[in-house]
């Protein structure tokens, strides 16, 4: 069967008995069997669990929960009770959690069918997926290319049509990059909108949990399921942003984001996006965020510092293997973190980075307040997907892939990444819209406006 590409099509089909939930699982598993070995997308396939849930749903036959009958695959950094969770690292190769993440529980309580756990850069350290201790994931659009990381499997699983939706984590682009490189929609929510309880921590002042899917409507549905306080992540607040219907939107174009180093096809594509919006009466203003050029340096101090602390728990005593099983990138980041926090360097690196972070935040907040823009438009990455192996021996060049992602994480603001076309080599293109904290609703509205105007249709690679 041709599996439906959206939640609505899936649920309509189930309700009208065009297909059963079991038949959907059959189709996804057939696709997994056909392509997974080559593309290395799943680390664990939960076939029995998927069939059990599908049979239960078919028996009840109602499909009236928000995610009823929706097949979900999780980045393997989300704890799943009784199902192996590796974080893409050999140190956790045989770790089986005794509880599930809040987001996993919420998704399954909303009727979803869990089909498996997805490959990722080990401990979410990477922009390409190549830092997984279980081998790189290939991009289904072209297998010579990386699918983006660190949620590499979360992007590839949807463009390979092996699941309907997926989850990821975004500390500096790890949801948005794979979405962008696989022709998908994704949301990096406001910091503190979604609980991270049960998600293996990377950098706690930056980590966010969010959805990947093929339409803005689907991403919105999943976000509404997973958001909100659970009492187990003290940073989460039930805050409602502005949900008023706006008659006119205003978008800022940060001039520092459209400079040398940005791929010309991406620049041209975003200009076309702007033209589409202008036809829809959206106003554009040039804005300046001079300190964002330091974003990547701030990020590569704060993040390793927090990594060195969070990964201290992996000592092989209570769970997992000993520290010799940590991969190269994890070791590099832990050492970098220990260095910037160590006596004599704390003030000039860590404290300095936290102060420059304040400068970036204040500039971004000013633009939302003073210039009254609803969103900022930006590229997701400086280039389209790059080739496997191209940056793996030069960690600094890999880090610079995150240059456009950093602002949203450092400021704790939401960012919606959405597809906007293909390169001449048929590789996906996209852009991101960042808004003030808790402005997800307006970002969804703005995204829908664009997709409606271009008559966007979801696409998979095969």
């Amino acid at each position: 069967m041709n599996t439906p590409l959206t939640i609505k099509e899936t649920q309509d089909g189930l309700k009208q008995k065009k297909f059963s939930a079991v038949e959907l699982v059959d189709a996804y598993l057939a696709q997994i069997k056909k392509y997974n070995k080559e593309y290395n997308i799943f680390l664990t396939v939960t076939e029995d669990l998927a069939y059990a849930k599908a049979k239960e749903l078919d028996k009840i036959g109602k499909f009236d929960e928000p995610l009823s009958g929706v097949t979900i695959a999780y980045k393997d950094i989300f704890l799943t009770k009784d199902i192996r969770t590796t974080a893409g690292s050999k140190i956790l190769e045989s770790y089986v959690p005794v509880y599930s993440a809040t987001s996993v529980k919420k998704i399954e309580n909303a009727g979803a069918i869990p089909i498996g756990k997805l490959n990722c850069d080990a401990f979410a350290h990477g922009s390409s997926g190549e830092n997984s201790d279980f081998g790189a994931t290939l991009n289904p659009w072209d297998k010579d290319y990386i699918p983006g990381g660190s949620s590499s499997g979360s992007g590839a699983v949807l463009s390979a049509n092996m699941s309907l939706i997926s989850t990821g984590t975004d500390t500096c682009g790890s949801i948005r990059l794979p979405a962008n490189y696989n022709y998908l929609v994704s949301l990096k929510p406001t910091y503190g909108a979604v609980s991270r309880y049960g998600v293996i921590a990377m950098a706690s002042s930056l980590d966010t949990v969010g959805p990947l899917a093929r339409t803005i409507e689907d991403v919105e549905t999943i976000f509404n399921v997973i958001k909100g306080e659970d009492g187990f992540d003290g940073t989460v607040v039930n805050k409602k942003g502005d949900e008023s219907k706006k008659s006119k939107f205003k978008i800022g174009i940060p001039r520092e984001f459209f400079i040398e180093g940005l791929d010309s096809e991406i620049e041209k594509n975003i200009q076309e996006v702007i033209n589409v919006y202008k036809k829809e009466n959206v106003e554009f203003v040039d804005v300046s965020l001079p300190s964002t050029k330091y974003g990547i340096s701030v990020y590569y101090i704060i993040q390793p510092a927090e990594v060195s602390s969070n990964l201290g728990r992996f000592d092989g005593i209570r769970y997992g293997n000993d520290r010799d099983f940590l991969g190269e990138e994890a070791k590099r980041r832990i050492m970098l973190g220990s260095y910037v926090l160590s006596a004599g360097f704390y003030d000039s690196y860590y404290d300095k980075a936290m102060r420059v972070r304040s400068k970036i935040i204040s500039e971004v907040d000013q633009v939302f307040m003073k210039d009254e823009v609803d969103a900022l438009i930006a590229p997701v990455a400086p280039t389209p997907p790059f080739k496997l192996g191209e940056k793996i021996n030069d960690p600094l060049s890999m880090y610079l892939t995150d240059v456009y992602a950093a602002t949203a994480n450092l400021c704790g603001i939401p960012s919606l990444a959405l597809p906007s076309g293909f390169t001449k080599n048929n590789l996906p293109l996209g852009f991101q819209l960042m808004g003030p904290r808790f402005s997800e609703h307006q970002l969804f509205e703005l995204g829908k406006l664009y997709h409606k105007e271009i008559d966007y249709k979801p696409k998979t690679a095969f």
Partner: protein, 101 residues
């Protein structure tokens, strides 16, 4: 350009509870130097009048009631299930004290 010495790399590895092979020391030393050198560009930014940020949504001191949530309690068996290295229902840990001679 910042240059980390082998001694510094070994010191940082010790702080990080990591044991490095010679090949790793050789590989990491120039890589870490390059990254530290790059992020060192922050020294050019004037930050005298700004406070450091470590929380972006303005929360301070979040509390909850200290009560038992039964569904979140692990049994002893569950708590120990991540390792084979147990003794009498307890985790076995490396010795921190040495025998007196």
């Amino acid at each position: 350009m910042t240059k980390l010495t082998k001694k510094e790399v070994l010191h940082v590895a010790k702080l990080s509870n990591l044991t490095l092979t010679d090949a790793e020391i050789k590989k990491f030393t120039p890589q870490l130097s390059k990254i530290v050198g790059f992020v060192g560009q922050l020294s050019e930014v004037d930050t005298n009048s700004v406070e450091p940020t470590n929380q972006t949504t303005g929360l301070t001191n979040v509390f909850r009631e200290d009560k038992v949530i039964s569904e979140n309690i692990l049994t002893q068996g569950q708590a120990l299930s991540g390792t084979d290295n147990t003794y009498n229902g307890l985790f076995k840990v490396p010795a921190v004290l040495e025998n007196r001679t």
